[in-house]
């Protein structure tokens, strides 16, 4: 352990769940409406006289806009109006940039101004009476372009003579920093071998939620307030971006959501489109509606960060002990920094992965290219880094002729060392990775591996087994943003809930979160019912989010694996307050019995020793809300309690790039067995195990559902899904024909396992979990490489391994082997 100054969060007393509702897979409250088509998603919302928005988008990856003529479109009957970049620039300020210079100099508006920088960038908005008319009228908008050469390969983006996307920034380099912890020279001096890896590539894809982005926006002329019905999943961030741009206070931007059709991080950065909607609602004096087309989503929304790892050197002992590594991470941000360059620090939440590496140097550079802007995608920035660490482990193991299982076990952080401080000051709260690996290996039948390889060979198949060991760090300390830009005034985190007892005894819960399928109504009700001693059926959790509910804090939203910590801790805090108030009221009404002598059970407050003396919640609600004459003056009871949960964080040390960046570390160990047909490169995943540890599970079935869904997305990403661009910057996969997401027939057999390592730092012992570590990508990459051992020994160098690539690796293993070199230290 280093002699650093980081302070581990205080351990909190984890209250053992009563196991009445928490810990049970009760039926989800959401299901009744969602199975009957009674959910309310953004495109379901209608208003009288509303106009439909269609965006005219750039056909060029990089071009000057020489003229825009909207007159023909505006002449059409039923067209309500248009919006251009010049109008936007006259009415708004550019969005606030998180980066230091040069990225800080970008001037990013809701619509392109003077120039387009990727295919699909929004140039003009057209509003009409119907969707069809808006689309037709858009065809009549005349935009003249003067095409420029496109930058599509991040590796060339800084070369001389390459066109610069943003003249204001002066170059395509957007943000860079050097991270170094420990003593690299000592580590490399101590090493027996140095494994050098020239280049690894993590590809571009995202989670493609089935519902695309959208909004219905109304403007109240009298108050200057917008109501934004939208599926944006992080309203707190959108408000911070939009308020200054629109020159309005944040309370003028009311965000409302009910059901959201999947998010996965991809619905965080819709603020440019929302600003266009706001301007149009005001300009046209009517509600406007925007529903993104699937093609538009693929072309323009929230691609996952594409990253290169170059000139990697790993210091290792002959027995496989890992001492440290150096690498250069080159991150392709796409055309705009919409949430970036936060990816430049988010990876550091999991700096050593699950391993005891103490000496690490990573040079991070982010560049702009003529591709869609990158924004969070499930596992945001950490998945890329964890893929890198897992690739390193397998390459080291294979090149040193060691067993990848043994190398992992030798280097895993041990359960007895938890809480464990990483080289950069993050505190891994709890876990047992070796035990999880044992479970995963047993589930896939590891002990029979040799026999299975032989049997597969007899059928002409190459069988390989691979492991993916990952973390889903949850509950961000937003202070990490200061490592990107020391001027930023963000730190910590928060979430809110309110719980009230109404006049007829109804228990009403409001959340600050914006769930997209995670079942928050259900798990919140479980927590409330256990504390209040009532049935879950008696707890009504309002569906969705409304920033006017007073259950909205600066970081409210559903993102970055945190609800089971931030959301449920807020629910617990508010419910504890309510329980205490009910008891104080009961104490008065039941004749002055001490509060300690009371308990909450069966929907009543009652005397422990005399349960007959009970006051039903209905009576409590009625007395406080409607029948309160004669109550003691000093009885401070409202039965309407609001609690803000604030996780225990310090501001990180910006100079040393050191501090606790997230509160909890859920772990995932996956194991995959693949069979490759060497004639074609086609491979099948024949066995798969996913073992998860997210601390105490409030609702095991929901947890397993997240594990399954994340696994499916990872398997889709490693085999099929990629946002591929041609050399002119055209996206080759702009829809579900070309971008193949897994179907029911694609899914391999899956076994799941779990352990529960309670977090010592959270009130319920829970950890945030979205299981975005990308373990499925890593395990399949490892399995494919394992299958090719003894058959050319190709190195899996890319996170995207469609069958054609596997075939190429089998045909020309030497091309991949040239990427790796082992030297004696």
């Amino acid at each position: 352990m280093s002699d650093s100054t980081t302070i581990a969060p205080d351990r909190v007393e984890v209250q053992a769940p009563q196991k009445q509702w928490q810990g049970q897979s009760v039926p989800r409250k959401e299901d009744k409406r969602l199975t009957q088509g009674q959910g309310v998603f953004v495109d379901d919302i209608k208003r009288h006289g509303m106009g439909y928005i269609h965006f005219v988008r750039s056909p060029y990856a990089h071009a000057h806009i020489t003229s825009i003529d909207v007159s023909k479109a505006e002449e059409i009957k039923g067209v309500y109006g248009t919006l251009t970049g010049e109008e936007v620039a006259s009415l708004t300020d550019p969005f606030f940039q998180l980066a230091t210079p040069p990225g800080a100099h970008l001037k990013d508006y809701a619509l392109a101004l003077g120039k387009v920088r990727y295919v699909g960038e929004a140039v003009v908005a057209v509003v009409a009476e119907t969707r069809e008319l808006a689309r037709d009228a858009s065809e009549l908008v005349e935009v003249e372009y003067e095409p420029l050469a496109a930058v599509v390969d991040a590796r060339n983006a800084q070369d001389d003579g390459v066109p610069v996307l943003h003249d204001d920034a002066g170059s395509n380099m957007m943000w860079e920093s050097v991270y170094e912890w420990g003593d690299l020279d000592a580590a490399f001096a101590e090493a027996d071998r140095i494994v050098k890896i020239k280049e690894l590539h993590f590809h571009r894809f995202n989670s493609t939620p089935l519902e695309c982005d959208g909004a219905l926006v109304e403007f109240n002329r009298g108050t200057g307030q917008w109501t934004i019905h939208t599926n944006n999943q992080f309203p707190g961030f959108a408000q911070i971006m939009m308020g200054p741009a629109l020159h309005c206070g944040l309370d003028k931007l009311r965000f409302v959501t009910q059901d959201i059709g999947g998010g996965f991080g991809n619905k965080i950065t819709s603020h440019p489109q929302l600003v266009a909607c706001c301007l149009l609602a005001r300009k046209l004096n009517r509600p406007v509606q925007w529903t993104e087309w699937r093609t538009d989503f693929h072309l323009s929304m929230s691609h996952g960060n594409e990253r290169w790892f170059q000139d990697t050197e790993v210091a290792v002992k002959n027995d496989g002990t890992l001492l440290g590594f150096r690498t250069k991470a080159l991150d392709d941000a796409g055309a705009w920094l919409r949430y970036e360059p936060l990816g430049g620090v988010i990876w550091a939440q999991v700096t050593p992965g699950v391993y005891k590496w103490r000496n690490i140097r990573l040079e991070f550079t982010q560049v702009a290219t003529n591709k869609a802007p990158c924004s969070p995608n499930r596992g945001y920035s950490r998945m890329q880094h964890l893929w890198f660490t897992e690739r390193v482990i397998d390459i080291v193991a294979h090149e040193l002729e060691l067993d990848p299982v043994e190398v992992r076990k030798r280097n895993y952080i041990k359960t007895e060392d938890m809480p464990y401080e990483t080289p950069n000051g993050c505190i891994y709260d709890s876990g047992d990775y070796s035990r999880m690996l044992d479970i995963a290996l047993e589930l896939i039948g590891w002990k029979d591996a040799a026999a299975r390889k032989k049997e597969a060979a007899s059928r002409g198949k190459l069988l390989g087994i691979g492991i993916g060991s990952t973390l889903d760090s949850g509950t961000n300390n937003f202070g990490q943003s200061r490592m990107i830009n020391p001027e930023l005034q963000f730190s910590g985190n928060n979430e809110v809930a309110t719980v009230k007892l109404d006049v007829f005894g109804e228990i009403v819960v409001t959340l600050g979160t914006t769930p997209q399928g995670q079942g928050h109504e259900t798990t919140a009700a479980q927590v409330v019912a256990d504390i209040l001693g009532c049935s879950m059926d008696d707890v009504y959790v309002r569906a969705g989010h409304d920033s006017y509910w007073n259950s909205h804090a600066g970081f409210s939203g559903t993102y970055a694996s945190q609800f089971a910590v931030t959301g449920l801790s807020a629910v617990k805090g508010a419910t504890d307050m309510l329980a205490e108030q009910i008891k104080r009221l009961g104490s008065v009404i039941l004749g002055g019995v001490p509060v300690d002598a009371l308990e909450l059970a069966d929907g009543t407050v009652r005397i422990k020793d005399n349960p007959e003396a009970a006051l039903p919640f209905m009576a409590c609600g009625a007395i406080i809300n409607a029948n309160n004459a004669g109550l003691p003056e000093d009885l401070d009871v409202t039965l309407n309690c609001r609690y803000v949960y604030r996780p225990p964080f310090e501001v990180p040390d910006v100079e040393k790039k050191f501090g606790n960046l997230t509160l909890t570390y859920a772990a995932q160990i996956h194991a995959a067995v693949v069979e490759i047909d060497p004639e074609t490169g086609h491979y099948e995943i024949v066995d798969y195990a996913a073992v998860d540890d997210c601390g105490i599970r409030i609702h095991p079935q929901i947890v397993e559902g997240q594990v399954m869904g994340a696994t499916a997305q990872a398997l889709g990403a490693v085999v099929h899904e990629a946002f591929e661009y041609d050399e002119d910057g055209n996206l080759l996969t702009p829809n579900f024909y070309d971008y193949h997401v897994p179907h029911a027939l694609d899914m391999p057999p899956l076994q799941t396992g779990y352990i529960e390592s309670p977090s010592p730092f959270t009130p319920l012992g829970t950890k945030g979990m979205g299981e975005g570590g990308g373990a499925g990508i890593h395990s399949v990459c490892a399995a494919v490489q394992d299958a090719m051992r003894g058959h050319g020994d190709a190195i899996v160098y890319d996170s995207w391994n469609p069958y054609k690539r596997v075939w190429e690796m089998l045909q020309h293993p030497e091309k991949t082997r040239a990427l790796v070199e082992v030297v004696d230290a």
Binding site: D31, T35, V40, R131, L210, G262, M708, A744, M747
Partner: protein, 157 residues
């Protein structure tokens, strides 16, 4: 503009209720049902007929309603997700989806339910392979399909 009509009167029966509306000739059936009839249970997840979120049963046949113009459905009898439960009582399939956690965000669920309903009507005891094939035209991004498969299988067997 030419004299060719750009709209047409269409009569459809949806979940037993008859509707008559003047419809733009180019309007898709899914947009007609959602926007004009206010039956928003069926969803749209793509522009290309791949995702199946808009699946409905039209004259007894499972269709992706984004692949049909509204005018083509003139005279048809249409079933959508809103017609499955009676008086709020879930069908065995709907209940099974909830029991097996076969839905998370619920966006694909109406289409999944219609595809599975169509399967079980014609084939009450489908094999595993037949279930997967019947769901192949419906994309789900939350669940990985395992629980959807189990939910259908539980009702089918």
């Amino acid at each position: 503009m030419s004299a060719i009509a750009s709209s047409k009167a269409v009569t459809v029966t949806v979940n037993g209720v008859e509707y008559e509306r003047e419809v733009e000739a180019r309007k898709l059936l899914i947009h007609f049902v959602r926007d004009d009839l206010d039956l928003t249970g069926s969803h749209i997840g793509c522009d290309t007929g791949n995702c199946g979120a808009c699946s409905m049963i039209v004259d007894g046949q499972l269709v992706k309603s984004c692949m049909l113009l509204a005018v083509q459905a003139d005279g048809a009898s249409i079933e959508t997700v809103e017609g499955l439960a009676e008086d709020g009582e879930l069908t065995a399939l709907q209940q099974s989806f909830s029991d097996h956690h076969a839905l998370q965000c619920g966006y694909c669920t109406p289409g999944m339910l219609m595809s599975a309903t169509a399967l079980l009507r014609t084939n009450p005891n489908p094999t595993d392979e037949q279930i997967k094939k019947a769901l192949q035209g419906n994309i789900c991004r939350c669940t990985g399909y395992w629980n959807i498969f189990e939910a259908v299988k539980a009702v089918g067997s």
